[in-house]
């Protein structure tokens, strides 16, 4: 099936698989050779088989607005997103560099605050931070690492440059879909995996396990690791359960844990209480410990902060790590890299205007129709203004919001983010996408091979968040040597 002959419309954006000459990019050639070898009926049959598999495997994602239905199938496109290994190695190095600097930054903020004293990071930003936790001051967790698991969102602009869009340091999700997507593709298209050298992704659970195990306060014993979930109504519950299963960890809810007078954390088992060494928590700081944070939280464990401060339990990500997960703090990451590591940033930041500075705010207010405005502390694509697509009223409303609370807003030029061919019926059309690799750090570092590619399923849409109807694709890092 000559799938490209079917009027694939390249637009202004960079296309991940198809070059401007309308030919497949080198890394995508094996895929298109394969597609050319099968007919449209076969491809459609595979697509349906994938959809059926997603239903029976129960790969789901919860959408809050779908009342009554607690989950829906994960929208998945069978055309993968492909990156050459040589390019990936560059990105990987950049991701490691970034997380290292971010962890040094968090540790510094909760301790000596050298970066503030040296005038590299303004005190006003720190003071306005919603995620700075007084309770964490003076603490240095093991290895000096606070964010053990980071999901970094990357996008590619028109000219092919890859930018970091944001660093998710609180409870980034999506890695299970990355793993499941690959399983699906291997089930459905074993032939391509034979023909091309596609690097495997499935060592992530083992690496995550090792990252967590390194945080255990008890030397020499096989650590008891738990994944702390808010429960089945959380949108990422599927992932919590999946990762626990893959790591051989216990999946627990707050009510399963208790902190005793010895400051150790225990879980309630059928034969009494059993000590817990490491908690991979998937609930936000606010809900973690009603004694230390929100007293009305029923999701957390009273006394957890006490246990963590006493060094009796490892928590990933550490409480307070979210201070660096802030879209204003983001703008300072290139400076952090130079300050802490003495290196030039390998990956670029999207140019950012901080509304806290008068000159930059004036520019933002004068150019709302051209910019994307983001609140500092939201995630999931909520509370944003996409200037070129906004109405006059929306812009006026945002202008007010910005003036009321300038620290909480930053703006970036609208990027023309890249596209990749996506299958609808038997036709390929370009859809915008991003990429979320996951980076691990404890005693050593690890980056997933590729990551989760999220794709805006609606034509022309730039919103890829799964909470807002985005889908995903398998991500291939292809080794071109010897091809």
């Amino acid at each position: 099936m000559d799938i490209l002959a079917k009027n694939y419309r390249l637009n202004e954006a960079y296309d991940e698989l198809i070059g401007p000459d309308r030919q497949p990019r080198p890394a995508a050639k094996p895929l298109f050779d394969y597609l050319a070898s099968i007919d449209a009926g076969t491809l459609d049959a595979r697509r349906k088989a994938v959809e059926a598999a997603i239903m029976t495997m129960g790969i789901t994602f919860t959408v809050y607005s779908d009342a009554g239905n607690i989950d829906r199938a994960w929208p998945f496109d069978i055309i993968p997103r492909i990156i050459a290994r040589s390019e990936w190695e560059h990105i990987e190095a950049g991701l490691k560099q970034r997380l290292q600097a971010l962890n040094l930054f968090i540790s510094d903020l909760y301790n000596a605050q050298r970066i503030v004293k040296d005038g590299v990071f303004p005190i006003e930003v720190l003071e306005g931070s919603r995620n700075f936790r007084e309770q964490c001051k003076g603490i240095t967790p093991r290895f000096g690492v606070w964010a053990h698991i980071c999901g970094t969102d990357l996008v590619r602009d028109k000219d092919g440059t890859v930018y970091v869009l944001e660093d998710n340091l609180r409870v980034p999700s999506g890695v299970s879909y990355m793993l499941e997507n690959r399983q699906l593709m291997k089930r459905m298209f074993p032939e391509i995996f034979q023909a091309a050298t596609i690097l495997p992704v499935d060592d992530y659970p083992t690496r995550l396990h090792d990252t967590l195990a390194a945080l255990s306060p008890r030397e020499g014993e096989r650590p008891v690791i738990v994944v702390l979930t808010p429960g089945i109504y959380n949108s990422a519950y599927f992932e919590h359960s999946y990762l626990a299963q893959q790591m051989g960890a216990f999946l627990v809810e707050g009510s399963d844990l208790v902190v005793n007078g010895d400051d150790c954390v225990y879980m309630k088992t059928i034969s009494g209480l059993r000590r817990v060494d490491v908690i991979y928590r998937r609930i936000d700081d606010d809900f973690l410990d009603p004694e230390a944070f929100r007293p009305d939280s029923a999701l957390g464990v009273p006394g957890l902060m006490r246990a963590w401060r006493a060094g009796k339990v490892g928590i990933a990500n550490a409480p307070g790590a979210g201070v660096a997960d802030d879209k204003v703090v983001y703008a300072f990451v290139p400076r952090m890299i130079k300050y802490y590591l003495g290196e030039e940033p390998i990956l670029a930041n999207v140019p950012s205007y901080l509304c806290m500075y008068e000159d930059q705010r004036d520019y933002v207010l004068a150019n709302l129709d051209k910019l994307v405005v983001k609140p500092a502390n939201e995630s999931g694509g909520y509370g944003m203004l996409i200037g070129p697509r906004s109405s006059k009223e929306e812009r006026a409303q945002f202008a007010e919001l910005i003036k009321e609370n300038p620290r909480n807003y930053m703006a970036q030029p609208t990027l023309d983010i890249s596209t990749a061919p996506t299958l609808f019926n038997d036709q390929l059309s370009p859809r915008h996408l991003d990429l979320r690799p996951f980076v691990l750090q404890s005693d050593r570092m690890y980056v997933t091979t590729g990551g989760l590619t999220r794709v805006a399923m609606k034509e022309g849409s730039l919103v890829v968040n799964s909470s807002q109807g985005g889908g995903s694709k398998d991500t291939w890092i292809v080794d071109m040597e010897g091809v």
């Binding site: 495997m57 089945i232 626990a244 299963q245 999946l251 034969s271 209480l273 000590r275």
Partner: protein, 321 residues
């Protein structure tokens, strides 16, 4: 093993077993109806009574005709014991401990749920379609039992699955036997005896027990022989006796099992002492109630011992590391 997870595992198999046995109960009753001679009567409401849901039906004003009762037992989402609800609960429970089960189990349970959700309506109406759909539920459920036995370590988690399954199974066996105590037979003995025989044959069939009964008891299907077999035979896997053995086996592997074990042995002793020869239907009904109460006592002891921590805040107490 977390208390919460142990409890969910236990209920997951109870729900699945309940769904399967409700399907068996309906299938056999449909058969009974087809075979009844003139002059015999069979009220569908007996099904509601044996599964202990008559209160609910009365309160909700559900009609007692075949279609309404089938809808209530098969697809009614407000009836927590309907086949659809049971499978739905089993699936939702499974979600909370997917990490302790082999991956394929979740896929099968999810598949079973999707199947019944799509076909429940069909099963409610036509009798032949009902038979086909319910049989398919039984088959799918059996494949889950098989997969569990063959692909899951027989660890503590497995014991809770087995415990829930056997408690529910023993309970449902007594209920399926109880259906017959409610059938009124014609007074003419020439008609009544063969009718009675067919009735009990359907009961055996419902529990997939007819063939084993013939092999181990005899070709004649007599009421007290069947009751004796279904309650007291040690070898057939759906008898109360066998289930109690299995329950004891599970408990013996679990920690701190004294109280639950005591309840199980008590149930067993009482079953052993029951004289089932020449029993009037009313007395049989009372005996069966007694067995159900004893099973319920085992459930209470198990909950108290293993699920208690999950439901209560913990003060300083014994710790095992």
């Amino acid at each position: 093993m977390l208390s919460r997870v142990a409890e969910s595992l236990y209920w997951m198999t109870r729900y699945l077993e309940r769904a399967e046995n409700t399907a068996r109960l309906i299938n056999s009753s449909t058969q009974v109806l087809l075979d009844l001679p003139k002059g015999a009567s069979f009220g569908w409401d007996v099904l509601i009574r044996v599964v202990g849901l008559d209160h609910q039906v009365r309160e909700r004003g559900i009609k007692l005709d075949e279609a309404s009762i089938m809808a209530f037992l098969i697809e009614d989402e407000d009836n927590p014991s309907s086949i659809l609800s049971s499978i739905h609960y089993a699936r939702e429970n499974t979600r909370t401990f997917r990490e302790v089960l082999p991956m394929e189990i979740w896929e099968r349970i999810n598949g079973l749920y999707l199947y019944i959700r799509q076909n429940a309506k069909r099963a409610t109406h036509g009798r032949s379609e009902r038979y086909e759909v319910l049989n398919s539920v039984i088959e799918r459920r059996q494949s889950i039992v098989g997969l569990l036995a063959g692909s899951m370590s027989h660890d503590i988690a497995f014991q809770f699955l087995k415990l829930g399954r056997n408690l529910e199974r023993a309970d449902m066996t007594t209920r399926i036997v109880d259906v017959n105590s409610a059938v009124l037979l014609p007074t003419d003995e020439g008609l009544a005896v063969p009718a009675m025989e067919r009735l009990w044959m359907s009961t055996l069939n419902a529990l997939s027990a007819y063939q084993m009964y013939r092999r181990h008891v005899g070709v004649h299907v007599r009421a007290h022989d069947v009751v004796q077999f279904l309650l007291k035979d040690p070898h057939f896997p759906r008898t109360v006796h066998h289930c109690l053995n299995e329950i004891e086996g599970c408990l013996s592997v679990l920690p701190e099992h004294e109280q639950a074990m005591k309840a199980a042995r008590q149930a067993y002793r009482r079953l052993d002492m029951m004289k089932l020869d020449g029993l009037a239907p009313v007395v049989l009904h009372e005996y069966l109630d007694q067995v159900q109460a004893d099973l319920s006592a085992i459930h209470e002891a198990v909950s108290q011992q293993y699920f208690y921590l999950h439901h209560h805040p913990v003060a300083e107490q014994s710790q095992s590391q």
